[in-house]
Amino acid sequence: MIAFENVGFNYGGGELLSDVTLRLAPGSFHFLTGPSGAGKSTFLKLAYAELRPTAGRVSIFDRDARMMTRDDVALSRRRIGVVHQDCQFLDHLPLVTNVALPLTVASRAGDAQDLTALLDWVGLGKLADALPPQLSGGERQRAALARAIIMSPDVVLADEPTGNLDWDMSLRLLTLLVELNRMGKTILIATHDMNLIRQAKSQLAARVLRIQNRRVQLAGADL
């Protein structure tokens, strides 16, 4: 699905990531951890082509990210659901419209039948008509997740999706991601939440990646 080969990246200063090689195989479930500022969000941005590598090669659906046109990037994002760390919405449109936005921009607005079911599932059924600025941090994260999966994407990339959620809601969200993974979706979650990772490992074979010293390594058995 998404492959990194000897990828290096810097924002113009020193190298933030270097010599990163890994593959997100179809149907795999990964966590990405590391200290704050280690480059987790940066790694995700490389994976959905918001950033291009400064060294090496990132392939998204077997295409070199550097060769992708702007339209190619747009199309690839219909197959990659992203939950941003700072969930951004169109603040002038109600939540339900925001969640359906990926369908709208893909001219598939008609496919939105199970929208209420989806909103109910993330616990936002009653807030369908609320405007995003009226939502709490956790509500925004759940809405962002609903928006990320509405296109039934092949890959879900989530950046701290449970950062503002209580444990019950975190578990619910994890369950949803696990379910998606069982349906064959590729999942990558950047998180600090070790409890969440342990919980997931009890349910499925999740792999844990850790960013340390600019490298992305498979974490040891300490988890």
């Binding site: 082509a49 918001e50 950033l51 702007r70 339209d71 990037v73 747009a74 199309l75 690839s76 994002r77 219909r78 992203v82 941003h84 951004q88 919405f89 169109l90 603040d91 002038h92 449109l93 419209t97 936005l101 990926p102 709208t104 921009v105 893909a106 607005a109 928006r147 296109m151």
Partner: protein, 298 residues
């Protein structure tokens, strides 16, 4: 990436709503388009009216001249005959004809009334001539006239009409130049308004990109808006200005030379082209601005 203007104007409520309504730039664009169309109507009227004037003066008047013969009554007929004979042998003259008493009376009637005893007055006789192509040599003709008929004076209108025709031609060019400048400023102002709307909406554009919107989709949301606004603004300005032009007092009846600043016949259809032209300008300007903005984003 490409999309046609008609497809653009087809309503797409979903796409319209993804960009928040922006009251201020909307009114700015509407006002700019209206004001520019208003000015353009007058520039067009000026250009058309001076064009008509230039054409009329250049063609109808420059080709004719008058010879005025003042002489004692007993010599008058001889001199007229001599001048006519002379003109018949002058190269470059198409026709020459002495005006008869009735025609002279008609010419003088506006000033002296219908009862003027033309026969009894020592009026000069007039010979009207039309120029052939190429024209005659007016200096040579003057010399020959002085020799053969001392009372004859050549009055070729071109002497004073030529600079006026040139001035009218200049005026027509100025009108056309103004139209071009107005078009340029319209495009510039709409570009500024579009740029400000685009930068105000950068967060919106980022969200749209993130959820997989192609550039063309985002561009369309902005372009459609600005094009429709410019179209309605220009329509308002055009209608206002055309109403004012129609209400202008007509100078036609007052003086033969003056053609009022206005439109005639099919000329009234020309300003109707302004709203679509402004819409096309707005379309191109906004589209270029939007693609430029998007190129700078990931």
């Amino acid at each position: 990436m490409k999309f046609a203007l008609p497809a653009l104007l087809a309503p797409d409520r979903q796409a319209d709503r993804v960009v928040p309504p922006s009251g201020f730039t909307a009114q700015l664009t509407l006002f700019t388009a209206a004001a520019m169309a208003f000015l353009a109507v007058f520039a067009l009227a000026l250009s058309l009216a001076s064009g008509r004037l230039a054409d009329r003066w250049a063609s109808a008047l420059a080709g004719t001249a008058t010879i005025r013969i003042s002489a004692p009554p007993e010599q008058l007929d001889t001199q007229v005959a001599a001048v006519l004979a002379l003109l018949a042998t002058t190269p470059g003259i198409d026709t020459a004809r002495a005006l008869d008493t009735e025609e002279q009376r008609a010419l003088l009637e506006p000033w002296f009334g219908p009862d003027l005893p033309v026969e009894a007055l020592p009026l000069p006789r007039l010979i009207e001539l039309t120029e052939a192509r190429p024209g005659y040599d007016s200096e040579g003709l003057r010399l020959r006239l002085a020799a053969e008929a001392p009372g004859a004076v050549l009055d070729d209108h071109t002497r004073w009409r030529r600079p006026m025709a040139q001035a009218a031609e200049r005026l027509r060019l100025l009108g056309a130049l103004s139209l071009i400048l107005i078009a340029g400023s319209t495009a510039a102002m709409i570009t500024l308004a579009a740029n400000s709307a685009l930068s105000a909406n950068l967060p919106v554009i980022r969200v749209l990109r993130l959820v997989g919107a192609k550039d063309a989709y985002i561009v369309r949301a902005f372009v459609r808006r600005f094009t429709l606004r410019a179209l309605s603004g220009a329509a308002i300005g055009t209608v206002l200005a055309m109403t004012l032009v129609a209400l202008l007092p007509r100078a036609d009846e007052a003086g033969a030379f003056l053609t009022g600043l206005g439109f005639q016949g099919f000329g009234w259809l020309l300003p109707l082209l302004l709203p679509p032209v402004v819409a096309v300008l707005a379309f191109a300007a906004t589209r270029a601005a939007a693609f430029r903005t998007l190129k700078g984003l990931t």
